[in-house]
């Protein structure tokens, strides 16, 4: 039996159309885009085509504002280290929301070791940042603030436009990690007033190992890696043409299909949430309405998330995710679930379902029934 995959926030299958488009660049259309011969020019053309498509997806001023990277982690590191170190003369304070991805929090924390001061912007129980705290924390020493567009674990979308106004009134830089949001909701970096924007290829059904950082024209950052000068010197190294060409095609498809697809997924998501919340002591995590259209996240009392994940997988061939400590490498509970005010024992029982192109409404009854049986099975084992 074919399984039901509900973990698109951690990995998307590469769209077959993207695969078909990109495979030429690992085969017959090979070449180094820095080379001046015909093979190099073919590769260079593919690279620039991809850059234009990614720029279009996020409403960037021009393709030149897109710096290709090896993924979202590299883009986040480049944005944060690059902007903080380049602007250190203006001030040495950094801000980030409490619920940023680890690839945002860790470069910030590393800069803290190097003499920067880092403050975290608190979020409310729905996961939205507190704008008055941002207003207060963004003092004149602050150079850079990182706020994610939407959270992959609880689905909550942030008031980026309002945050941007606060930050730009003070002449500071706003970095937005758009990994979870890109391809799911319409993005316009110009309208939202974003200075640095992180994207990942795989999250929009492109190949893994590719990502991008949008750098608003006029914003200065410095490289964190040094080499041959590719990507305006900001991310040197021979480009992964296969992955980047695929990223470009994935961006093109996302832009074309996003409106309809997101509406379709939202309908499925709403049905899932409605049915799963009928389970005894099931709660939604994250914002009830300001959330990603494909994202349903829950917590269940008296049971533990890794056990939920394993049971759903082994018994029903349904793949979900969890923010439970027991499933993480560090055995720490999710910082996101703690930041929205859950107690440790509450954070252990989380289950995250993220829908994608292969999911359909007719899967909902099977998913709901599997969830009910999983919860029932684990509660029968539980002393709580």
């Amino acid at each position: 039996m074919c399984g039901i995959y509900l973990d698109h926030q951690s990995c998307c299958p590469v769209d077959p159309r993207v695969e078909e488009f990109a495979r030429h660049f690992s085969g017959k259309d090979f070449g180094n885009p820095s080379a001046l011969h015909s093979r190099g020019l073919t590769a260079k053309a593919a690279l620039e085509e991809a850059r234009a498509r990614v720029a279009e997806l996020i409403g960037a001023e021009s393709p030149e504002s897109i710096i290709f990277t090896g993924g979202a982690t590299q883009a986040n590191n480049l944005a944060i280290r690059g902007a903080a170190l380049r602007n250190a003369a203006k001030g040495k304070k950094l801000l980030a929301s409490q619920i940023e991805h680890i690839s945002v929090l860790n470069p910030h924390k590393d800069l803290k070791k190097g003499g920067f001061e880092l403050n975290l912007i608190p979020v409310d129980s729905s996961g939205q940042i507190d704008l008055s705290s941002l207003e207060r924390l963004a003092d004149k020493e602050t150079v850079l603030t990182s706020i994610m567009y939407a959270n992959g674990e609880i689905g909550t979308v942030q008031p980026i436009g309002e945050a941007s106004e606060i930050i730009h009134e003070k002449g500071q830089l706003l970095h937005v990690d758009g990994t979870a949001a890109a391809g799911k909701i319409a993005l316009d970096v110009q309208k939202d007033g974003i200075d640095l924007f992180t994207l990942s290829s795989n999250d929009i059904y492109g190949p893994q190992g590719a990502g991008a950082l949008y750098v608003r024209p006029g914003v200065r950052i410095q490289p964190v890696l040094f080499g041959g000068g590719q990507e305006r010197g900001l991310l040197p190294g021979t480009e992964n043409i296969y992955a980047l060409a695929g990223f470009g095609e994935a961006a093109r498809l996302a832009r074309l299909e996003m409106a309809g697809e997101s509406m379709r997924l939202q309908t499925i998501r709403d049905a899932l949430i409605k049915e799963i919340l009928k389970i005894d002591e099931a709660r939604l995590t994250g914002h009830p309405s300001q959330r990603l259209p494909h994202h349903a996240s829950f917590r269940f009392s008296r049971i533990e998330g890794e056990s939920i994940l394993l049971t759903m997988d082994a018994m029903f061939n349904i793949q979900v995710s969890t923010g439970s400590a027991c499933s993480s490498r560090t055995l720490e509970p999710s910082h996101v679930l703690l930041a929205i005010g859950l107690r440790h024992e509450e954070a252990h029982g989380s289950m995250i379902m993220t829908l994608g192109r292969q999911n359909s409404m007719d899967q909902v009854p099977a998913i709901v029934s599997a969830t009910e049986k999983t919860v029932e099975r684990l509660r029968a084992l539980s002393p709580l």
Binding site: L310, A314, M315, A325, C326, R329, E345, L381, P383, L384
Partner: protein, 149 residues
């Protein structure tokens, strides 16, 4: 090749746990772990002629916590109390064909719950004084060990 994820035995005991449930009026009862840490186990034993005649468990926790509980009940059933006291955390993990290294401490509390249940029986029957019991009910398995919060 390095093992990826849980062993087949862990998954078998997780999916088909043995000896799940409660023994009414047990001869011994042990409870270790803490829901805050994500693992809580309780073990009930029935003792006859100084042997573990029956044993049941209930566990809140991850896959390995449930598998460990199931395995330890299987290992202890029919053993003398003295023998059952000798079952270590490592014995249980070995019997499950190993546990991921980060799981060895937090979720490997089955032996502790078993020992707590046996000591509870010994305290009740006057074999040891309450203060001599090494496993305090409802406490972490090892002294000084915590889940890091």
């Amino acid at each position: 090749m390095a093992q990826v994820g849980y062993s087949k035995k862990v998954m078998d005991h997780f999916m088909n746990p043995r000896n799940v449930g409660v023994i009414e009026a047990p001869d011994g009862y042990g409870k270790v772990g803490n829901p805050v840490c994500g693992d809580l186990m309780e073990i009930f034993i029935k003792v006859k002629e100084d042997k573990v005649e029956d044993i049941k468990f209930r566990t809140f926790g991850c896959g390995s916590a449930i598998a460990v509980s199931s395995m330890v009940t299987e290992m202890a059933k029919g053993k003398s109390l003295e023998e059952a006291m000798k079952i270590t955390r490592k014995d249980v993990a070995d019997e499950l064909d190993g546990l991921p290294s980060q799981k060895m401490h937090c979720s490997n509390l089955g032996a502790d719950a078993l020992h707590a249940a046996i000591e509870d029986y010994w305290v009740k029957t006057g074999k040891i004084r309450p203060e001599d019991a090494k496993h305090k009910q409802g406490q972490e398995g090892e002294e000084g060990e915590s889940c890091g919060i």
